[in-house]
């Protein structure tokens, strides 16, 4: 099954277009069902300009919300609304297709900046790339699956997620919090100028490969550093302000010129952290 849903009420299609919210007559909300229960649900968002939020929720379909283009007078002038109807949006602002459980969201005939919020069932793999996410950047919350995010301008923030993450930001910060990791998936985080701040479950098994040219690397994991690769100098500092006198975790502060390799919890799939100017902080959850 392959459906194309345009961001303006093509009611003949299976997707239902809800009425716009009162506050903004151009605010669109489009529901798109996943058609194929046998395949993994996947959401692909590409080529948009503006903040993109993807959020897991309890429903079964994807709900795409965005603000339509203002001043889209061409259609207003040429297409007066049918009797008793009012316009809730205009033009082909957004193109949304569904094919075998993969929903794709991209811009329509015109590219225009808009903030978009997409709700998907929690168990959905997500692949979001943005040309310019702006200050809002790409934000992915509450989903469980394989997550890929790439932002040409602006930060990438992934919170309360499970699964695996491959994230890139050209210049912004990358913040990731994973509640649960898939045991055999490789991950990677990269940015030119931003910090990389990743929180992993305490029992995550991984081989860490960390590289920052001008920043520091911090973690509260017990990292077994691989002395043969990279790591030039490592300073150990006992963390201050211990609670109940029990917190004796060691903070590693590794300063180096090239890549630092280490393993946590005995090792596992590779996790790569690369930033040129930023810090790398890996928290234990």
């Amino acid at each position: 099954m392959n459906k194309t849903v345009l961001g303006f009420g093509l009611a003949a299609l299976a997707a239902s277009v809800l009425t716009a919210q009162d506050a903004n007559p151009l605010r669109q909300s489009i529901k798109v069902p996943f058609s194929d229960a046998t395949a993994q649900r996947k959401l692909v968002v590409e080529g948009l300009v503006g903040a993109i939020t993807v959020r897991g929720y309890e429903g079964k379909e994807a709900v795409v919300e965005y603000t339509g283009r203002a001043g889209n007078s061409r259609s207003s002038a040429n297409n007066p609304p049918p009797a008793g109807m009012h316009r809730i949006g205009g033009g082909r602002d957004m193109e949304i297709t569904e094919d075998h459980n993969t929903i794709r969201v991209g811009h329509g005939s015109f590219m225009f900046p808009t903030d978009i919020v997409i709700q998907v069932p929690v168990d959905t793999s997500v692949n979001v790339s943005s040309l310019a996410g702006g200050a809002g950047g790409i934000s992915i919350e509450n989903v469980s699956g394989e997550i890929e995010a790439s932002n040409m301008a602006g930060p990438v923030t992934i919170t309360n997620a499970s699964g695996s993450v491959v994230a890139h930001s050209m210049a912004g910060k990358i913040t990731v919090t994973l509640n649960k990791v898939m045991p055999d998936k490789s991950m990677s985080f990269s940015t030119m100028n931003g910090d990389i701040d990743v929180t992993l479950p305490a029992d995550t098994k991984a081989r860490l490969k960390m590289k920052t040219d001008n920043g520091d690397i911090f973690t509260d994991f017990d990292v077994t550093l691989d002395p043969q690769k990279g790591a030039t100098t490592v300073e150990e500092q006992k963390s201050k302000g211990t609670k109940n006198g029990k917190d004796t975790r060691t903070r590693y502060r590794a300063r180096l010129d090239s890549t630092t390799n280490g393993i946590i919890n005995g090792g596992g799939p590779e996790m790569q952290f690369t930033t040129f100017n930023g810090r790398i902080v890996i928290h234990k959850k």
Binding site: P33, S125, S190, N193
Partner: protein
């Protein structure tokens, strides 16, 4: 619709798969029957909770075992017997080759003959080659960057003389849609530094990359390779104002290192 009929529609109603006609009838019934409505509301959270139960994931070697058996199948019963004693390394090589093929998009892949070594080894290599192609087809289904990354990290396990793996890596550096995969592939080229192919490929790749972090990684690799042929391109980068200023500074640093 009576109560007994209505109950049989509950599950599809919760899943949103009930046909329109039945959905309308069911909702009409629920609107008028207090008992059914209460029951539906009581059961619905259990139904939705079921979908959220954490799923059991198979262990990491299950796939390896499957592909090993698949190889045995292809060769018929005779080879199947020996496959039980075959070192796991073969599986690794298959997996690595396959994953790399995926990383490289699988396009333009040519099998090059490796005639050196004893015939058994040659035969084994032959098997690995065809298995790579075979499984590549399957992994191509999975357009997952995480899987492709795994393929790249496996490249460290193959011999640095393996031209197939090398060309797959180069292809990933140039064509992979995911920047992180490109970045990982650049790093994975370091062990292949001895090869002229690597040097050429890196030189040609540099002007094609737009992501600053990948440009930096390529520059580092060129410095590692002590690639003096890179001077011209590095000079061009230093003076190209459309390039990220940190990258230009890094190119300047590389120039000084190489000169």
């Amino acid at each position: 619709m009576n109560c007994d009929q209505a109950k049989l529609f509950f599950a599809e109603h919760w899943s949103g798969t009930l046909p329109d006609q039945e959905e309308i009838e069911l909702e009409r019934h629920l609107g008028s029957c207090e008992a059914c409505r209460a029951e539906a509301e009581r059961l619905a959270p259990l139904w939705s909770g079921l979908a959220s139960l954490p799923s059991e994931e198979p262990g990491p070697d299950m796939r390896g075992r499957f592909y090993e058996t698949l190889a045995a199948y292809r060769d018929g019963a005779a080879t199947a017997k020996t496959s039980a004693h075959r070192p796991l390394r073969l599986v690794w090589q298959i997996a690595a080759g396959v994953a790399l093929l995926v990383a490289g998009g699988g396009a333009g892949y040519a099998v090059r003959g490796q005639s050196s070594g004893p015939s058994e080894l040659a035969q084994l290599r032959g098997e690995v080659n065809s298995m790579r192609q075979l499984v590549a087809l399957s992994l191509l289904q999975q357009q997952s960057a995480s899987e492709r990354l795994r393929g790249v990290s496996w490249a460290y396990r193959v011999e640095s003389s393996d031209t197939e793996v090398l060309s797959a890596l180069v292809s990933a550096v140039n064509h992979d849609p995911n920047i992180n995969v490109r970045l990982a592939a650049v790093d994975a080229l370091h062990p292949f530094a001895g090869s002229a192919t690597t040097r050429d490929a890196v030189l040609q790749s540099l002007p094609r990359q737009s992501a600053p972090i990948v440009q930096v990684a390529l520059i580092d690799l060129l410095v590692d390779l002590k690639e003096r042929d890179a001077l011209k391109e590095l000079e061009r980068m230093v003076s190209d104002s459309s390039i990220d200023s940190d990258v230009r500074q890094h190119a300047q640093w590389a120039l000084e290192k190489l000169q």
